[in-house]
């Protein structure tokens, strides 16, 4: 753990964090570890899927799709082998939770993946970990080894005669590979270009076989759902948004950190109480609520419950749980530019609206930030973004366009302040604050 926990936290996925040797299988098993698997081993696949549905769990990677429903799409009776894939390619700016879940409790991830395996009769699972997380690959390899030695993984899972194998897989640096179909391409040893869907991974995933593909946090939630009960988990959150969420608070707050809080916790409460308020007593200006792909909220829009439906109603997204807080001295044009530089760099180039759109938006925003923008550029930035929406194989194009549209619409005054050859009006102030 890299930050102090907060008393308002409800520790479900993180409850073993901080225990001595929390990543070892012995600590895990002394604290309910693999009891969820034991329970699932006595259930039918249908019962497992229904139980996950009952928990109200929704995908923690960003889209918030109901997990049980996703699992129910897998054709269990297909003669093809079935696979479990854990997406640990965490790279959405603002997001740093999967790292903690693997680092502090790798067996919880393995248990969740194994329960998913039982739900679709899969006998093989993989965890795709981004290459930069090398130490986590080594750590997960050790955990897997322990699980084999204890008879949890292998040819005879906990003495039941069932089979489940699990292995790590290293990425090599590409944001795009966090997108499910690009991850599958990359896993097969190819460039990480997305696949057209349908078919979805549930039907044609790993090696064109039926696959459950979820985020690390989603699998990490499956273990406690089976250990402590689906009703208990569901009751922690808000309606239709079961459980807790690991919120990664970053930017201009007194106590940035990753905090596990009930779904639906008020955003202002997270900023002011849990994260200690805006740094240096400054005023709040804007918040990106769920990673850089999510449309920004203005300060007066932040009295909002942090769950998938409330954020969707506010035309933003809960996304991956990355809450990026910006104070009154932040230059929005600079923020928008930095985010667009990221998308332009990470666009895989497969779809033209994304490849060209992100590059042109980067150029436009750079020119604007340098004080050489024109009034028509403001309109052009908005139009260009809107033209990217829905016109690409994968959501990266949308992820670049949506926040840009919101930045321009909600902070048009700041864009206008950059006009007429003025340099960035906030630049000097933000330099002083950061120093």
């Amino acid at each position: 753990m890299y930050n102090q926990p907060h008393p308002l936290e409800v520790k479900v996925l993180t409850r073993r964090f901080g225990l001595p040797n929390s990543r070892s299988i012995d600590t895990y098993m002394a604290n309910d570890g693999y009891t969820g698997l034991k329970k699932a081993l006595e259930m039918t696949p249908e019962q497992i899927v229904d139980y996950v549905k009952l928990s109200g769990l929704r995908g923690r990677g960003g889209a918030g799709f109901p997990t049980g429903l996703k699992w129910s799409f897998v054709p269990r009776t297909s003669p093809k082998p079935k696979y479990i894939m854990v997406n640990a390619d965490e790279s959405e700016p603002g997001t740093c939770k999967d790292r903690l879940l693997i680092e502090n409790d790798p067996h919880q991830v393995i248990e969740g993946a194994m329960i998913a395996g039982l739900a679709i009769n899969a006998e093989q699972g993989y965890i795709y970990i981004r290459g930069e997380y090398r130490y986590l690959i080594e750590l997960m390899d050790k955990a897997i080894e322990e699980a084999y030695a204890k008879g949890v993984l292998g040819e005879n899972v906990m003495g039941t005669g069932k089979r489940f194998h699990f292995a790590t897989h290293s990425g090599a640096g590409a944001y795009e590979c966090g997108e499910e179909s690009a991850l599958l391409e990359s896993f097969e040893g190819k460039r990480g270009n997305p696949r057209i869907r349908p078919p979805f991974p549930a039907v044609a995933g790993v090696y064109q076989s039926p696959t459950i593909l979820n985020n690390v946090e989603t699998y990490s939630a499956v273990a406690p759902i089976f250990q402590q009960g689906a009703e208990y988990f569901c009751g922690l959150g808000s309606p239709k948004n079961g459980g807790t969420r690991l919120f990664c608070v970053s930017g201009h707050v007194e106590r940035p950190g990753v905090y596990e809080l009930p779904m639906g916790t008020n955003l202002l409460k997270i900023i002011h109480e849990v994260a200690g308020g805006v740094r240096g007593g400054k005023k709040l200006k804007a918040v990106i609520p769920g990673g850089s792909s999510c449309p920004v909220l203005k300060a007066d829009e932040c009295d909002i419950n942090m769950d998938f439906d409330s954020l969707a109603a506010a035309k933003s997204m809960l996304g991956s749980g990355g809450i990026v807080v910006m104070d009154e001295d932040t230059c929005i044009v600079k923020a928008a530019l930095r985010i667009m530089r990221f998308y332009a760099h990470e666009s895989c180039g497969w779809c033209i609206p994304c490849r060209e759109g992100t590059t042109w938006l980067r150029k436009l925003l750079q020119r604007f930030h340098d004080g050489m923008g024109t009034r028509s550029d403001i309109v052009l930035i908005g139009d260009l973004s809107k033209n990217m929406l829905g016109r690409t194989f994968c959501p990266l194009g949308d992820a670049a366009a949506m926040p840009t549209i919101a930045f321009v619409e909600k902070f048009r005054d700041e864009f206008e302040a950059h006009l007429d050859g003025k340099p960035c009006p906030k630049e000097n102030i933000s330099r002083l604050v950061a120093a």
């Binding site: 890299y2 700016p93 603002g94 897989h169 090599a172 097969e188 040893g189 990480g192 930095r338």
Partner: protein, 173 residues
């Protein structure tokens, strides 16, 4: 092409992870671990891994070009990667980047003449709540100030190992 016994053993393990007719899945993990030993993705390495994974050198080259961690030219002994993405930017990531450029005299993806250091401005590395963050090779450093960066680079240049540097601690272990 020959590799160390440790790397050969790792390759064998990698290839065993995937179905026998899916050796290509091992390609990217093999590339990145081989790069750690060889120094970069050389033409010879591409030929060798193509042979071992049942792919063509062209298919391997195509893959290498896609991933930001795979380098066709060797980086420095210490590859310093500084994140300036949004969360780091808000906590001084760009000052850290500027300091690193000043200190080393290098720019983005440049390598020192003696091969000691190389520099890269990188995208989000998953340390947003503990920004500004950086990596030296695979080690993470959180909440780094420009002063700490100087100490870290000086200590590494003086031959200290990352774990021996008490003033600036790597967090990943």
């Amino acid at each position: 092409m020959t590799f160390s016994p440790a790397l050969e053993a790792r390759f064998e393990k990698f290839l065993a992870k995937y179905p026998a007719d899916r050796k290509r899945s091992a390609l990217i993990p093999m590339l990145i671990y081989a790069q750690d030993e060889v120094g970069s993705i050389t033409d010879e390495l591409i030929q060798e891994l193509a042979r071992r994974t049942g792919t063509t050198p062209m298919q391997v080259t195509e893959v290498v070009g896609f991933y930001s961690m795979l380098q066709r030219k060797p980086m420095g002994k210490y590859h310093v990667q500084i994140c300036t993405n949004i969360s780091c930017l808000l906590r001084g990531g760009d000052e850290l980047w500027e300091q690193a450029c000043k200190k080393t005299g290098l720019g983005h993806k440049q390598v020192a003449a003696d091969g000691s250091f190389s520099l890269e401005e990188v995208e989000c590395m998953g340390a947003c709540s503990w920004a500004p963050a950086m990596q030296v090779n695979y080690d993470f450093y959180h909440g780094v100030t420009p002063k700490q960066l100087d100490v870290l680079l000086d200590s590494l240049a003086a031959g200290k190992k990352p774990e021996e540097i008490a003033e600036v601690k790597k967090v990943s272990c």
